[in-house]
Point group: C2
Amino acid sequence: MSMTLNVGLVQQPAWPDKDKSLTESERGIRALAERGAELVLLQELHATQYFCQTEDTAVFDLAEPLDGPTTTRLATLARELNLVIVGSIFERRAPGLYHNTAVVLDRDKGLVGTYRKMHIPDDPGFYEKFYFTPGDAGQGAGRGFAPIETSVGKLGVLVCWDQWYPEAARLMALAGADVLLYPTAIGWDPSDDDAEKSRQKEAWTLIQRSHAVANGLPVIVANRVGHEADPSGTSEGIRFWGGSFIAGPQGELLAHGDTETAHLLVSIDRSRSESVRRIWPYLRDRRIDAYSDLTERYLDRR
Amino acid sequence: MSMTLNVGLVQQPAWPDKDKSLTESERGIRALAERGAELVLLQELHATQYFCQTEDTAVFDLAEPLDGPTTTRLATLARELNLVIVGSIFERRAPGLYHNTAVVLDRDKGLVGTYRKMHIPDDPGFYEKFYFTPGDAGQGAGRGFAPIETSVGKLGVLVCWDQWYPEAARLMALAGADVLLYPTAIGWDPSDDDAEKSRQKEAWTLIQRSHAVANGLPVIVANRVGHEADPSGTSEGIRFWGGSFIAGPQGELLAHGDTETAHLLVSIDRSRSESVRRIWPYLRDRRIDAYSDLTERYLDRR
């Protein structure tokens, strides 16, 4: 394996039409491949608009099985361009059982792994608990916080809301992830004031950079852009804030997007993770004898 | 309890002479008290220079029992000024058994709690494993990651190297901490280049701001300033980088110091933590059924 890894990401708007959205993703992937990308991350649920602004049973029609048309199209592209693509689908696992699932397509090997979003948010405009069953706990393919083996290394793929949980990043690092990836769909409520908007975007950036720091790993984050209206008309919709970025293992920003379409590419030096972990050896000193309460909901009255 | 809390911190240089260093701390505490501080954080091991640049058995003479002169002096000041002081001492628990211990002095109640640094670093210039036994695991006074009850709330006091561990901050939050505090002694190796220095200080700031974000809590960090020579003469010593700060529960910077002496004061709105946790309810969605591997050292071959 080469000591450098060319990682890219596509930040884009999306449309109700899957073909139109996927064609735009494909344009980005091809552009990045021409620049030498070996790994490309797409944003969360990139094939459609972010449909969780309302709760509507008809929306389940958008879901696909793991080997559905979106995965198939990405697999074809990964094979043709000889690279690894991390995509994100609305997965139909069974009637009445749906997940928010990342799919990893590895060159000519097709689908080599999946990650089902473990932490599911639910707040006004982001009604995900209606649509997505949380990923299964436990060990084995597609369960828990397991990195996915690929030709470019072990990918610690997490999804959006997971990004706020240091536990998720740590578990991926402990399981040997070489890089952390976060497909995301996050934006502003247009009715919030500018100070609140600024605090939210800054908090979102720094929590994910902090996972790089805490674990000595590069972090890649792809978020969507554009305004998407609320189908119910009860809110002003969501202004997706973009701000996708690639950070090195000290949390240093190597590339970042703004609020427009962006195709980011960075050549990551794989040896940096080990050298950073040598000067900041956090894994050496974890107090695993004193962490058992991390599996508690809350420590009442202590 | 008032809905605001005036928190302050003292960022200062230190001298080999304890009286001189403590007199400078006292000057800062008095200045902050005059401005209305109810809680003041001092930096790590503030009574002396940072003595871990070399391994020298004679240095153990600097250690004090929990009721030693440094704690006594701070308790007297807390009583006189009617505020809470979080200090940091080199604790002599028994001959041959020493800790890096935070002490909390609460108005007229004296010493109301201690925290013994749980994560102990060791790298060139920071030979802490020679001097400090890690704090005990388990529950009870002065054990593990337990917030300290005071007249101004439950203080999640951690120390320096702990700041790099999301686990420590999370455990304090789960145990009901109202605020996280980090007395610190960190600086640059003068032989590092400017880019590395910048990455290190930025990583240090953002990892601690991330604990505010992940837990919806204010964070107070006090670091020392000034250059301290290496007594062995084998290195260029340490240039302590200051940069102490107070952040709100979205990680937003409310006040920060530079590389000189600083007395920072911020009036924290206690209701903000709850309102932030309502819009970002991370505690609601933790996957405690899938976190058990956090007590593992490493997940080999998964």
